[in-house]
Symmetry: C2
Subunit: 349 residues, 2 copies
Amino acid sequence: MPPRRPTAQDVAKLAGASRSAVSMVMNGTADGNVAPETQERIRRAAAALDYTPHPIAAGLRRQRSEMIGLVTDEAASSPFAGRMLSGASQAASDRGYLTVIADAGGPGEDTSHYIEELRRRRVDGLILATTSLRTLRAPEGLRLLPSVLANCHDEPLSLDAIMPDEYRGGREATEHLVSLGHRRITWIGGGDDVDARPLRIRGFQQALSAAGLPPGEVVPAGWDINDGFTAALPLFSAGPDRRPDAVFCANDRVAAGALLAARTAGLAVPGDVSIMGYDDQRHLAEATVPGLTTMALPHEEIGRVAANRVVDRIEGGGPSVPAGAAPQAVLLQCRLVVRGTTGPRLPGA
Amino acid sequence: MPPRRPTAQDVAKLAGASRSAVSMVMNGTADGNVAPETQERIRRAAAALDYTPHPIAAGLRRQRSEMIGLVTDEAASSPFAGRMLSGASQAASDRGYLTVIADAGGPGEDTSHYIEELRRRRVDGLILATTSLRTLRAPEGLRLLPSVLANCHDEPLSLDAIMPDEYRGGREATEHLVSLGHRRITWIGGGDDVDARPLRIRGFQQALSAAGLPPGEVVPAGWDINDGFTAALPLFSAGPDRRPDAVFCANDRVAAGALLAARTAGLAVPGDVSIMGYDDQRHLAEATVPGLTTMALPHEEIGRVAANRVVDRIEGGGPSVPAGAAPQAVLLQCRLVVRGTTGPRLPGA
DNA sequence: TTGAAAGCGCTAACAT
DNA sequence: ATGTTAGCGCTTTCAA
């Protein structure tokens, strides 16, 4: 049974001061209101009793819970959700907020029920985070308290949205390949179901064009290892003068399949062909032979930035978007992670 | 700005009843204390005002927060953490509890700081969850309120621990291979750094022995794709009469490497050799060609069971372990997921 | 500079 | 069967 915890009253008694003095000392509002030596006695008494203020009582008084809610669509099935959660909870904790979570359990699931539940619990702010980048209609409940969208946005933009800069990621990944001397670069994979794909492809074509190269070929396929394998095998089986120098894969799983296809076709990676992934999926990208070069999605940072922004809003005191200020989409940079699947083409190849 | 929410007082006034009657109606303790028609009026008034009780105020009065804390060691870098979080938060929510999270950020990190922080915030109970199965020294703070360990345990057992039954998983996976007619089965992978490995291997040997087969060969290696590849290649390159019928891999990444090695060695899977994984790592096991047969770790269920047990303890009112009752280790079954990498050996092979 | 007092919104014991 | 009252532990205003 939890032993009874000391209250501010106990501390006041031990220090020979008043309850309010204790409160001020604990909240840092004592200077100029409480004599320094009284402050010191209070601090000592608090330490002696191992006193910490009761946040629920304080919250009741202040009408704040010092909690932010994090609603996810499918934390369970994503290898990325953990990074966002951990980034957000870290940042929230650094600013004195607790993070409470609610997971809808699936990508299509309605999150508004969870949002209402968290509102009922009086969270001070909300983050709605999706596992893969998407456009959605923001549930009305979000508008009733400070909130931001993470890895998703609504159209037209009515709430702050924190997202990866997929366009720039696509561009910089391609620039990496071009800088290695590759000229014939083919895009592989990805269906039309994910918002990120067209952005990455636009960046891809943009980089090629900026380098004075013709548009790259785009081979559609799914998002899984076998899709990458199936799509890449015929490309790699073509003659040396007809096959690509490099492939830019829609994600790391597709890249893993392409890697497998290269091996099957008897091509050396990166000697004969370079392979670029996307996502930096943990326990996959670093676990292939050789490790995948890839663009890392900044999930942890997305969580961090989203939490900080919500807290800013809470402490700024306004609703999600301050009256007069337009909601903002914040694009965070993806990070190039160079491992073993990209390199210059070998002369002999 | 959040519009001012109605209070029990407002509802009482509108319904022409007393505050306490409202309280009882909202808490389901009204029957026998409040006249049925008054109850009905109160319910209607509450609905009209869109009233929901203020959980912080209730918590202050009841000395309960209706929150459980979930402390993880490295949610960010594990593909499995999400499943535990989502199982736990789902179960907690079903029982009226909010889940608050704190992530230590790394496998070696000290969690006691986070446990103290959550205790300070007056969570009613705690779950300490690790990303991979391990033995640890339970931080003292856990003993001060209802708590359980998830995916880990202490030695000697002083707290309830919810874990996968790795021994049985190893046994049943092996039984699957044996039932397909395989006789020469080799274990591949896994270092001594993970508690799960010896258990899985014990199950493996136990199943072989129960089938009247000699002990299986154990080839140590790491836990990643390249480790599996490196370890499997020489095995698969041996002559048909010297190579294994099947390999049981320490985890799915090792199995993915073994699959690649089989392809490199020119072996058909499962025609020439069957490959068994472990973990059911999302976006890997189902994404290889063919999909990996594997034992799924019951992470979601671990989260669910852990949360339910904590809530049981909270509502039972005792400390982590009721006086007199021994702490309990609960082993949850792993689930065999048959995909494409296991099957009978083809006659011609 | 200090301390007393009034709640925050709710629940539970008590009086009617 | 109903309403009244006394806090839960804290913050903050106001009077001394």
